[in-house]
Each structure stands twice: as C-alpha cells, then as structure tokens.
C-alpha cells in the first residue's frame, strides 16, 4: 500500500515547488511525444559528433521512432464513431500496419492513448477513452504483439487533437493514438 506524499500541493502562499522538479512532467502527451522530424539521441549524431540540421533528416524516419511507426503504418492514430469503440476497416488497416511494424521492431514499447470528443460527461468519457485504447491494444495483441509491450492510458475528453465544437473536430478527437515510449532510437 502506498503512502506517497506527492509534493504537488502548493501549501498556502509558500510556493513549495522545489520538490515538484523531481516528478515526471505529465503535461499533455503532445508535449513529450517525439516530433517526427526532430533528431533524437545518439543516432542523430552523424559522425565525428556533428549533428545534421533538422531539415536534412526530415525525410528519414529513425528506426523504432514515432515517425517510423507513422511511415510504416500510415498513421499512429485510428478514429472512432460517436460513442463507439468499434474498429472500422480503416482503423484495422492502420493497426495492422502498426502491428507489422511492432513485430519488426521487437524492442519497441508503446502506450496507446484513448481519447473522446467533448460530447459526453467527463467520467463516462474517461471510461470510453479507455475502451478505445483497449480495443486498439487487443487488436495489436491479436496480431502477435506481446501484451507486455502495450500499455494504455485514457485521457477522456481532456486532450482533444483539434479545438472546435463541430462534427469535423469531434471526428478527429475520437481517437486512439499509438505512442512509442521506449526502444525507439
């Protein structure tokens, strides 16, 4: 049983933020999701320690990276119908591509984020987002990707991809996004 005292509480006026630095930043996934064209880690270093300018690597997805996943599968995102977690043909096609890529990149682990549009209550949408992430996870697992490489998280309606109160925006927000979390270089 945990009895962690998360130092996230600002006590009175005394801003006791010093301890917060040690915590993992859990700002929106967009904030830490590797941007496709950004070189990352040692692989980005060309030779003799020189780093190529970002434009030059823009067309080359690094092995095991988010960009490579997107290139291989067509997308890291599958979309859902309103209040549904069923995978349509397009979603299965994308996830099939993701599964093939994951099978080729056996050291990659991913987190599947489930999201909803704003057309539901906060609580229900957290659960619906979880269902969507779980549906994508089950599909990948059924293609042979080890379940231990697949984790899920639901953001409900908290992290829309697109800001807007119309069907076009909602359609893009009802989604499951496969995010490379480790193993990529």
């Amino acid at each position: 049983m945990t009895r962690n005292i998360l130092p996230l509480i600002v006590v009175a006026g005394a801003v006791a933020l010093a301890g917060c630095k040690s915590n993992r930043d859990v700002l929106p996934p967009e904030a830490w999701q590797p941007a496709p064209a950004q070189p990352q880690g040692p692989a980005a270093i060309d030779q003799a320690g020189t780093v190529p300018p970002p434009e030059q690597v823009g067309s080359t997805a690094l092995p095991g990276s988010q960009a490579a996943l997107i290139e291989a599968a067509g997308s890291d995102t599958v979309l859902f119908a309103f209040d549904s977690y069923g995978l349509d043909e397009r979603a299965r096609q994308i996830l099939g591509g993701q599964a093939e890529w994951l099978l080729r990149n056996a050291n990659v682990r991913v987190t599947i984020e489930g999201h909803t549009d704003e057309r539901g209550t906060r609580e229900y949408n957290l659960a619906l987002g979880e269902r969507r992430a779980n549906a994508a996870k089950n599909f990948l697992a059924a293609q042979g990707v080890g379940a231990d490489r697949l984790s899920i998280i639901s953001y409900g309606k908290e992290r829309p991809a697109v800001d807007g109160a119309n069907e076009e925006a909602w359609a893009q927000n009802r989604r499951a996004v496969t995010v490379v979390v480790s193993g990529g270089r």
Partner: protein, 438 residues
Amino acid sequence: MIARLALFLCSLTLAAPAAAQLRIDITSGVAAPMPVAVPAFPTGAAVATPAGTTAELGRQVAAIIGNNLSGTGLFKPIDPAAFPAPGMAEVDAPQFAAFRTAAAQALVTGFVTANANGTLTIGCQLYDVFSEERLVAQGFTVTPAGWRRAAHKCSDLVYSRLTGESGYFDSRIVYVAESGPRTKRVKRLAVMDQDGANHRFLTSGQSLVLMPRFSPVNETLSYMSFAQDRPRVWIYNMGTGQQQAVGEFDSMSFAGRFSPDGRTLVFSVTRAGNADIYAYDIASRATRRLTNGNSIDTSPSYSPDGRRIVFESDRGGSQQLYVMNADGSGAQRISFGDGRAGSPVWSPRGDLIAFTRMQGGKFRISVIRPDGSGERLLTDSWQDESPSWAPNGRVILFSRTERNGRSSLRSIDLTGRNDRRIPTPLEASDPAWGPLLK
C-alpha cells in the same frame, strides 16, 4: 492553510420567534425578490485591527451579507443611500419609519466591536420592518482573519430565518481552474469561499487533475490526478497536506466521492475496457467491488443516509442512471426518456438527484426523484455538466462550457431560476460544494 478560526456563539438571544409573517416561500420560485436593507454595521469607536478598522469592517460585513442575499435571487438589497446609516444605539432600536420609506421589508443590522484580547465580536440582527419585530439576533466572536466568516454566518442566520431552510454561505467550493489552449489545457485544483473570496490554488498545474470532491465531515478532498502517468484517485488532507493514493490498481481509477460519514470513498476502476464501482474504507484501506460486468459503471454518489448509491451505467445500451443498495445489490434503472443521463449526485436532503441530461446535442442540468419520477430540466445551454449541491440542497453548482470552448462555474436555484455565474480568476470546471464549515 485554513486557519482554525475561533468562532463562538457569544450570545444567543432569539427574540419572539412567534407569529412573524415575514417569510419567503422558496419552494415555488420567487417572482419578486424581497427588498431588504443592509446598512453598514456600526462600531462604537473605530479601532484598528489586522483586518482593517472596525468601521471599515462594518461596511464590508454589510456588503458581504448584501451580496450573499442578492445572490440567492430571493432578496433585493436596497441602495444604502436610501436610508440613514444607523449608529450603535439604533442596532437595538432601529428607526423603522426610515426603512419603511425606503420600501424595505426586512432589515439586517448589527455591529462590529474589537475586544481587549484581539478578537472581534460581530453582532447580527434581523428585523421585520413593518411589524417592528426582531426576528433573530446572534453575535459571533472571531479572530480578525475570520471576519468574513462572521458575515457569512450572519447571512446564513438571516436566510434561514426568512426561508425556513438552512443556509449555505459559510462554505467553500473546490474546483478545477483551467488555462491554456484546449488541446494542451493546464488544470489546477483551486479552493475558495462560496462567494469567490480567499481563492487559492492547491496544485501547480504540472499534472492533469480532475473531479475534486469535499469530504462532508473534515478538511479532506478526493480528486483524480494523472501524476506519473498513473491516472488514479487521491485523498488529500488540506489541514496536514498529506496525500494517500486510493487502493492499489494497475489500471485507472476515477470519479471518487465520499460517503456521508466521510469514512468510505466510492469510485470507478477500469479493467479491460470496462469500468466497475468500488468502495474503499479510508481507515482500513480495504477495497470492495460493488458492480460487475462489461459495462461502464461510474459516477457513484451516496444517498445522505448512506444506504444507497446512485450511479451511471451503459449496461442497458446507453448511459443512464441507476440506484443500488450500498453493498452493490438491487440495481434499478431510474432515468428514461430521450437521450443519455450521467454524473448523478444525490441531494444532501435526499429528495432529489441532480445529473447531466444529454439530448438534442445539448447538455443540461436536470433533477429527478430517487424513484425515477418527476424529472425536471433546470438549465438550457450548450454544455452544462458536473452538478454539485449546496449544503442545504436548494442550489446546484455546475460548470458551463460555451460553444466557443470557454468554461465557467455557475449556480442555479432548484426552481430553475437565478442562473448566475460564480466568479473565478481563470476558466473553471468540475465544481464541488463543500459542507457548511464548523
């Protein structure tokens, strides 16, 4: 931190409770608010205190009471320029003729005096202007830092005497303050007095936080945090600053809410895409599963006697409200009709359940009896959700998102009148009204 306030009843002189007719029937909805005079509370001699002079406090106390009463929609404070400000001698013997001329029906008056030991005594009296009868009188002794609470206590006294219902002004609201673009929203827990005063943030905004709820009995909150990428329910003691994760689950826990005795927390846990309701005994940390199955069961809320729980479930195909026994047995669907129903919360009076009704592309706040009868929509806007009851069960706090994405806190009377905005420094959502302070 919340200072423990010395707040005593220093005198209790209930005058002539007999046949006073001055009364507001709040059950039917009030067409014309009662005109009430709330002149600045006089002080014997203006004394400097850490909170300002007693004369200044006298003006502010009156302003807070006027604002509280006005906010109910049941009272209309009269411009203080319409009558002479009373002196100390007139607190016990008001010049009723002057208040009658100003068309006041009720008079709230009192005094502010500084005591030798550094405390303040704030007197509070309510008169029927026409019968010249004193309806209630009470004094509150507070630390200078606690002067606003005395003004809220006085407001509660007046409201209670004139409506026959308990008040709700000496209470706080916890909610989620929002900033930044919608796609990367920063959310922070914040707490404030019910009138927006004494606002402070409880979290830094580093982690996404949702659905804070007050314990009905002490300085404790529950809320959901995405800290460490582990979305789960936490219990946070505002007095000690201590936090405790609720249960040990591999998966997400959310939608926590305390039992009426504050000893149990009910919440949902997801597993393989379904969500079930669990009860957590805070002292022993034992968890008990209350619902089972492949549906989304969430938003549990206890009845005030602790014997039943209302929750939402999609077990019947769409999101609807159900009532079950507190042990999880005997679930019965109570919401029917067009659309979906979610986020139910049981009134502290027990007579009604407030919830979010989704139909025709809109989200509206609605109430329904626990047996499923008498559903009544209270609001009509683009996206109203997350209802929470005032401690007296007469007013509902909720969050409203406009079509442009802006969100704010609002309250509405149970009669469907007086839809008003609760001021917050930033955009706001997920409000929860705390209990009356002790």
